[in-house]
Amino acid sequence: MRTDDTGNDGMNGNFLHPSDSEIQKWMSNAFNMAKEALECGEVPVGCLLVYNNTVLGKGRNEVNETKNATRHAEMVALDQVLDWCSDRGMDPKVVCKSTVLYVTVEPCITCAAALRLLHVPLVVYGCKNERFGGCGSVLDVASGDLPHTGTSFKCVPGHRAQEAVDMLKTFYKQENPNVTKPKVRK
């Protein structure tokens, strides 16, 4: 489903599906963000919103500093896209219709609904989000029949999934006080 049209006009629906090499490039970028987050003791999730080969939003989890439990990486990145649009007087709907989310972990139910509300057509992700996933793991918000909640979107799951899972496991081991205070330190 690829066209030679550069497809920068979301209004006529010419959404350009990313090539495998593009997916690899942007996901490697997202994984680097997740690794950095893990090294700083933060939730290891990295995400990018890419519009016409340009990164418009890059997010990391900001729940702790904002005391707002919805400040997931995707929400932070979406705000950057909205700011980018308003700086240029562009319609966010038009821009988002041609924007792809690359994220190391399946978006949660809240973020999946937010992506629908903004009409993002495609999400490429690493591992499943067994606890909160909104693209099928807990609920399928991505393709659910929700005519009043924006547009459904497609997913490309499983990109470097094991690596993403391992990072999450490392993080939650650190978080769990029963694991972090062993009497014998190795």
């Binding site: 904002t66 005391k67 707002n68 439990a69 979406l78 949660c108 139910i109 909104g134 929700l146 909640t149």
Partner: protein, 341 residues
């Protein structure tokens, strides 16, 4: 308690103007499922315990713990006072659909049929009822055990809350309705919300829809961020929206009822209540799970609502936080708001 004179117009609560009902899980609100079975009269009462023992050995129903194998005969004029479940229809697949005799159900050379009359079809509840309406429906067919949750029974009758509590609920929803109207005056969707700490009665946040400014700023998302502000966090500015307010945390220290110093701040919305004019969408409903909200009251359902209509996020299996949801509060006022949008 607010003095009477401080109460605003529209605050007066008319107990007949609305009814608050719980939004229960599908398991609790669906009709009872039944299994087809055969029962037979016990023609000789002295054989009852032996028959139950023998039947349980041939056709056990041990996975139906809620079912009593023997029931008193409903027809009081019947010559035999007791009836017993012989087997489930699924236990005897060879007799598809046709009327069965005891010989079809029990191989008579091995089973002592003494004291057992001719079998007849019955329907038995497939699982234990969870609510009184389910119990009543199930009992029409066969006796079943029922562990009643009195709160749910009262809730379904609209009697869970005292009139004093309903007055409070009415007041909080009135604030949400007023916030929705303020938002509407700014060109937003007419949806408003209020977050309350029920322990102190403190109103932590009042907010309304801001989707003209930001497509994701539904009233609930705004309220959640205002609670974050109240706790020293927060993301967005609300200076331009006078009806979006929060009460900073130190108020609670002053009004703390117990007088004890509790430094450990609850995780975001733990224990708080949300009053919102319209059923939250899936984004907002899950945001309430992430925020650990205590309870939600809403006025009217919405077409893609996620606390009853399309999903029941508050009791979704697999999620780590669940909460009670009630709907119908100030229904008419909330319906009028939907017309405005």
């Amino acid at each position: 308690m607010e003095p009477e004179s401080k109460k605003r117009k529209g605050m007066e609560y008319d107990p007949d103007s609305w009814q608050v009902l719980p939004v229960l899980s599908d398991e609790m609100s669906d009709d009872v499922e039944f299994l087809d079975a055969f029962a037979a009269p016990i023609t000789d009462k002295r054989q009852t315990s032996r028959l139950v023992k023998d039947l349980s050995a041939v056709h056990p129903i041990s996975d139906l713990q809620h079912i009593r194998r023997v029931r008193p005969c409903k027809d009081k004029s019947s010559p035999h006072p007791l009836e017993v479940i012989v087997c489930l229809v699924s236990d005897v697949p060879h007799i598809k659909g046709r009327p069965a005799s005891l010989g079809d159900l029990l191989s008579s050379d091995e089973f002592n049929l003494e004291g057992l009359g001719e079998p007849f079809p019955v329907r038995i509840p497939a699982r234990a009822p969870l609510t009184r309406p389910q119990f009543e429906q199930a009992s029409l067919h066969w006796p079943t055990s029922f562990h009643e949750d009195k709160r749910i029974t009262l809730g379904l009758k609209g009697q869970l809350f005292t009139s004093r509590q309903k007055t409070k609920i009415h007041e909080y929803m009135t604030l949400a309705v007023e916030a929705a109207k303020s938002g509407r005056e700014e060109g937003m969707d007419a949806v408003g919300g209020v977050i309350v700490d029920p322990k102190s009665g403190r109103i932590v946040a009042v907010g309304h829809d801001l989707t003209r400014d930001h497509p994701l700023h539904h009233a609930v998302m705004v309220c959640i961020d205002l609670v974050a502000w109240a706790q020293g966090g927060g993301v967005y500015g609300y200076e331009k929206h006078p009806a979006c307010t929060y009460a900073a945390m130190d108020h609670q220290v002053q009004t703390g009822a117990s007088g004890s110093v509790e430094n450990a701040q609850p995780y975001i919305c733990t224990g708080y209540e949300l009053y919102v004019t319209r059923e939250p969408c899936v984004m907002c409903a899950m945001a309430l799970v992430h925020s650990r909200i205590g309870r939600v009251f809403y006025g009217v359902p919405s077409p893609d609502g996620a606390l009853g209509t399309k999903f029941k996020i508050h009791c979704q299996k697999g999620l780590n936080h669940h909460f009670d949801v009630y709907q119908g509060v100030r229904r008419r006022s909330c319906e009028e708001l939907v017309q405005l949008t």
